[in-house]
Point group: C2
Chain length 200, copies 2
C-alpha cells in the first residue's frame, strides 16, 4: 500500500497516538493489541502500520513526547530567579502540567516495565534530566543559605512524588480549585526544605 | 473434582495468590489469564478453580489483604503518644511496610481500574480508612498547637504520596540504608506540617 499523504498522516498520526495512550492507560500495555488500537481510531489493522511499525514504538514515542513536553514546558515556566521563587514555580508547574495529562502520567510510571532495555535507557535519561531540575533548585537554595536539606536527591524525589500524587485525587469542580491546591502544595514544599511557610 | 484437602489448600492457596500478584505486577491484570496463573504455580488450569472462582476474586483478595495487613500493622506500630511522635512513627512505618511489598503496592495503585464497581467500593473504604490515620495525627497536632496545616486532607494525601514514592527508587544495598531513608523522610514530613525539623 502507498504511504498516507502528508495531510492524512498529520491528522491520523496524532489520533493513533491518542488512541494508544487511552487504551494503554485503561487496560495496560500488554493487554492492548495493534488491532484494538486500529479499531479505536476507526481504521483497518493494516492501515495502522503506515503510522507505526509496532506497539513498542508507540509506547516509547508516547513516553518520550510526554517527557520532552515536560522539559520544554518547564524551560518556559522557570522564572530563573532566586531558589525559593523557583521552588514555588516548580511546585505549581509540576501539579498543573500533570493534572491535565492523567493518562500520560499513568503510563509514564506504570509501563516502564514494558519498555525494551535500550528504549528504557533513553526514557530514563529524560526522566533523570527532569529530576535534576528540583535538585538544582535545592542545591542553589542550600548554597544560598535559604534552604536546609539533609539529602538533595531524596528531597527531590520526595518533592516530585508528593506533587505527582495530586493526580490520584484531584478532580476539577471539587472542594478546592487548581490555584488553591497549587498554593497549599507549594507551601508544603517550602516546609519540606526548611523555608518558612507562608499560608498557614 | 474433589476440593483439595485442608493441607493442600493451606500450601497451594498462598502460592496461587503469590503467583497472581507477581504476574499482575509484571504484565498488568488484563493481560494475565487464569491459565498463566496456573502455569506459574505449576498446577493444571482446572485445579486452579479449586482455589479461586475467577481472576477478579484473586485481584480483590490481594488488594483487601494488602490493606487489611497495612491497617493491622499500623495498629501495632502506633505509639499512641503525642502527635509529633506519632507522625514520626507513621512516616517510618509507611516506608518500611511498603518497601517490602513492591508488587502489592504497584497493584493496589494501578489496578483500581480493573475492579468491578462493588469490589472497588469495598477497597476504597479500606484505603480511606488508612488515610484517616495521618488525618487524625495532623488534626490532633493542629489542635495541640504543635503543627500548622492549611488543609488536613491535602497534607495527608501529600504525606502518603511522598512516603510511597520511596518505592520507585529505593533498593537495598544502595547509598542509604532503610533507617537513614526513614529518618530523612520523617524529618521532611515534620517540615511539611510546620514542626521544627531535627536532622538538618
Amino acid at each position: 500500500m502507498a504511504r498516507p499523504s502528508g495531510s492524512d498522516a498529520g491528522v491520523t498520526g496524532p489520533r493513533v497516538r491518542a488512541a494508544a495512550e487511552r487504551l494503554f492507560a485503561r487496560h495496560g500495555y500488554a493487554a492492548v493489541s495493534m488491532r484494538m488500537i486500529a479499531a479505536e481510531v476507526g481504521i483497518g489493522a493494516g492501515a495502522l502500520y503506515h503510522y507505526t511499525p509496532d506497539k513498542q514504538t508507540l509506547l516509547a514515542g508516547l513516553m518520550r513526547e510526554h517527557l520532552d513536553d515536560l522539559l520544554a514546558a518547564w524551560g518556559k515556566a522557570d522564572p530563573g530567579t532566586d531558589p525559593v521563587a523557583r521552588l514555588d514555580a516548580f511546585a505549581r508547574f509540576h501539579i498543573r502540567f500533570h493534572i491535565d495529562r492523567p493518562d500520560a502520567v499513568f503510563i509514564a510510571y506504570m509501563e516502564l516495565r514494558s519498555l525494551e532495555p535500550e528504549t528504557f535507557a533513553g526514557i530514563e535519561a529524560l526522566r533523570r534530566r527532569y529530576e535534576t531540575v528540583p535538585e538544582g533548585i535545592l542545591r542553589d537554595g542550600v548554597a544560598a543559605g535559604v534552604m536546609a536539606v539533609a539529602d538533595v536527591k531524596l528531597a527531590s524525589m520526595a518533592l516530585i512524588a508528593m506533587l505527582t500524587g495530586v493526580n490520584t485525587w484531584y478532580r476539577d469542580g471539587g472542594r478546592l480549585d487548581r490555584d488553591a491546591v497549587e498554593g497549599i502544595y507549594a507551601d508544603m514544599a517550602r516546609g519540606m526544605v526548611g523555608v518558612e511557610r507562608v499560608s498557614t
